[in-house]
Structure formats: structure tokens, C-alpha cells
């Protein structure tokens, strides 16, 4: 499936079709990460059931140093 992830067009392996699988794919299970798809924030409790769609605009966000 082709999606845009953090501004980059990528092709995801066929077995990845939920947010939870995407997070596992990038090994972010133990990281502080916030997921937004097509400008909608996805609640953590819904990661396993939220399906990715062809062309989804996905943002994976975290906190960095700042003032």
C-alpha cells in the first residue's frame, strides 16, 4: 500500500494494514509517539483497529527539545 508518512511517499509491505502494525514495523512500541492520519489524531486504544488506506497522509509525531 502506498501512503505518505511524515511528508514522504512510501510503499508499505502488504502485511501492514493497521496503525499498530505500522508502529511495530518501525519498532516504536516503546517510544512516545503520537499518530495523526489525514489530520485526525488516532487514540492509542484504537491503534489495533485503525486501518490504513491507500493514499493516507500519516504523521508520526514526538517531543523534541525546545524552548
Amino acid at each position: 500500500m502506498n501512503v505518505r508518512l511524515n511528508g514522504k511517499s512510501i510503499s508499505l509491505p502488504a502485511e501492514i494494514d493497521t496503525v499498530a502494525e505500522l508502529i511495530r514495523h518501525y519498532e516504536l512500541e516503546n517510544r512516545i509517539v503520537i499518530v495523526e492520519i489525514d489530520k485526525n489524531i488516532i487514540e492509542k486504544t484504537l491503534y489495533a483497529e485503525t486501518e490504513l488506506k491507500e493514499g493516507s497522509e500519516i504523521e508520526m509525531i514526538h517531543f523534541v527539545g525546545g524552548g
Binding site: 517510544r31 495523526e36 489524531i41 509525531i61 514526538h62 517531543f63 527539545g65 524552548g67
Partner: protein, 256 residues
Amino acid sequence: MMLKIGDKTFSSRLLLGTGKYPSFEVQKEAVRVSEAEILTFAVRRMNIFEESQPNFLEQLDLTKYTLLPNTAGARNAEEAVRIAKLAKASGLCDMIKVEVIGCSKTLLPDPLETLKASEMLLQEGFTVLTYTSDDVLLARRLQELGVHAVMPGASPIGSGKGIMNPLQLRFIIEQATVPIIVDAGIGSPKDAAFAMELGADGVLLNTAVAGAKDPVKMALAMKLAVESGRLGFEAGRIPEKEYGEASSPLTGMVSS
């Protein structure tokens, strides 16, 4: 006396930014000696396509600190609200520092978008701390909206110029009904102490510590300056006089 923001109280009046430290080790130590309880962060995309980098926040004991994410990067109220909601979705914080920059050269805040963003975020239930210019009437409009703290800049972000307009800051503090935290432009401990002597409830700084030759020593200096300035304010300084007034008695001189 504790600093109260929204429904939380803090014993430290120094709020510390987490950007631009030379290393994680130095940053951890600077944060520790500063005794700051509120730390600011920015909200950004993860570098998921690169090898994972250590993340300062993920190494922090989050039971000890209150996170204050900022909306830096927002150019208008809508972008600020989007960033604030992303930050809150982490489940780690409900405070937000509203920061809407209107000028990329001076980094001064856009007053109208700042006001609008603050109002929208209050409606969304955030604890709102608004970074603003040192405009007295804007500060009043913000506190009338119900923001939980007003954070006027001392001078442009990262400039280290210190307090450019102490008179306006004093006016803002005089009329305040919410905590006033001097945010941005602090260069040295004297600036932090001065802000506190003017009656500010707190000081937020980042570059002054992170960019110092010895950030850990400067973090301690800033902690002491904030405490010293606060004590001086509470103690009540003497009025200034035009000419000298002897501290020693003028009678009973030893000679003739």
C-alpha cells in the same frame, strides 16, 4: 509561597527549555541542578527513516516533571491548535505554551493569532500559558480570556538582550490577575533576578543556559538568581536617593 498555574503548584519559579544543549549528559545535569519542575518541549515529526536517536523526554522521570509543550512552528491560531492537540494526545500533559510567531527575523509573536489561539485552546480545555509581547493591553486581554499564565518576552527569543522594557513589564505585573512568567530574551543571571525583582511570578529560559560555556554551572546560577530576585522582591527594596547617605553614625567621631 508556591507558584500556582491552573490546578498545579510548583516550588520552583524557574521554567527551563530543553533545546540546543551540547549533549544529553550536560542537559540532564543542567536540568537536575536547575531544580526546574516545568520543562518545555517542541512537537515535531519523528525521524523514522533514520537510525533512532536518543530522546531526552524518554529518559526523564516523568513523575518529577510537568511537561509544557509549545506550539512553536505555528504561523496562525489553527496551526497552534493542531500542534497543541497532538501534544495532548501523548497523554503526558494538558498544559500548552501558546507560541505563534509572526516575524521570522525578530521571532516576535503575532498578537492577534496568539489571542485567537489562546481562546480556542481554553475552549478545548487546555491549561494555557501564552507567550506574548510585552504589550500591557494585550496581557490584560489574555487574562480576561482566562489564560492560566501570561508570558511576556523580555526581548526577542534567543537574543540574550535581557529586559528591554522594564516599565512595561512592571505595568503588566501590576495589573496581573494570573501568574506572569517572563519568557524569552534572558541572557544572564542578572536578567532573571531583575525579572523576579520586578515582581514576576517566574522566568522561562532556554538558550541562556543551553548556550552558556558551562550550561550546568549556568543552570545553577539561574536557579539562584530566580530565588534571589524573588526574595528581594518579597523583602522590599529601599527607595533610591539622589545623593549619598552614611551608613555609619555621624556623631562620636574618634578624631578631634
